[in-house]
Symmetry: C2
Amino acid sequence: MTTEFDLIARLRSLATHPAARGLNDDAAVLSIGGQELVVTHDMMVEGMHWLTGQDMADVAWKLVAVNLSDLAAKGAQPIGLVLGQMMGADDDRFLEGLAEALTAFEVPLLGGDTVGATTGPRALGLTALGKATHSPVPSRSGAQPGDGVFLVGTVGGAMMGYEALRDGTGGETAAYLRPQPLLAEGQALAPFVSAMMDVSDGLLLDASRIAYASTVTIDLDPSAVPLGAPESRRDDALRWGDDYALLLTARPGAKLPDFAWPIGKVLPRGKHALLLDGNPPADGKPLGYQH
Amino acid sequence: MTTEFDLIARLRSLATHPAARGLNDDAAVLSIGGQELVVTHDMMVEGMHWLTGQDMADVAWKLVAVNLSDLAAKGAQPIGLVLGQMMGADDDRFLEGLAEALTAFEVPLLGGDTVGATTGPRALGLTALGKATHSPVPSRSGAQPGDGVFLVGTVGGAMMGYEALRDGTGGETAAYLRPQPLLAEGQALAPFVSAMMDVSDGLLLDASRIAYASTVTIDLDPSAVPLGAPESRRDDALRWGDDYALLLTARPGAKLPDFAWPIGKVLPRGKHALLLDGNPPADGKPLGYQH
């Protein structure tokens, strides 16, 4: 059985066009008519990306939000969405959530495809198109030794929301169910960053991805990371995904907006891609959500 | 339970941007940087769009081909593909077929998303992006009384291929398994057509879609339709999909390339959207493949 890692490696060998950015980025960046078009696609599958029985309005919202978060990481302005929808018993709620998200993020639905329900888990796909607002379009590969590392937003809120939902505690679930893509923040940051991505799979894992793509080491100060979870859960929050914060690096002296919070520094590439207060992360604990 | 017809009607109420063309077209058409970008998305689901056990190389080819066929109907030149892939046991064959299609149609893979396998049928989604080669970009809504109706390609070949595969007769299956999007033909035709679409769901059904979108009646001469099936199967071939021929209308005297075959005429909208030799189609038999 091919692993997902192997599969992506093989897809990468097919995606040789420069616009594909070696599949090492949140989105493809394509020049068309003197504009830079940013294109991203995320799938969500029942039981894998949402809990069976969840309100489909939240699922629709999240499908839109996670794709727009990839555009945010490129400093792009959304121009349209294309939906691949498998029908289900609660399409009414799905459409209500979709309509709410289209309105909230001021992005038009342009088209797509609808297929009938099957006996298995429901699958949804969304392609988001955006227009770059700054060139060069931020990537994961531009971090340089001496840069600072910054976070916009918090991590851990989605974890708390997921647990509240799973355990039926009645706790706050919005961060998990209704994430907010940081579109305005991404556009404001794009001119000042050396690298940027959205934190979808866990801060530590995603920071190591910037480190690999940029051939640097990233040294984070875990205690400086703004949390959306209790302090006692800090270590889990650093490894949990789904928060859609923005992680970025910037040259010393870059005039970043003050919502960018310093959480570490970029070093020349050493033995480890990622350090926490100068030390490699403990073995055996995943850095994030590999999916 | 919402029907697909109802669902699409409700999606249409959300897709109010002009680029969405009221979801009445094969693709969205979006102006960006002075270029017209054509965007389409098709999903394929195991057991619905392919037979379980089919060679996944053929499925990958078809996923690419059906999306490119939508671009062909707009006279667009493909510029990139974005793939949503659910993993399965035979990803190697899928990647081989994908590589073959990328090479055959000279289109780059730009990115996408990969998700793990589930217990249910496998779902795949593909977004194709193209650049219009002629403006205005052909739509389904431009047919006018007095126009001729033309077909490029044949119908019925995919039906024969599907039956050969299903029944294991050893007959020719390429038309079903490896359809060819008529990209060069679509680009050559775009300047001369009043309406155009690809025949994915059956010639009679798709002709009636042009008639509804254009508020005209289309009168076909069934005996003139070029077949990829035996004459004895003509009536079935007119209602079977998956051939990816191009159906178009053109003003009298339009200098169409000679591969466009006359199969009917456009009349003012009468009681029926579709006529066969002047008579409405017999009741009770579907015009095509509704899915």
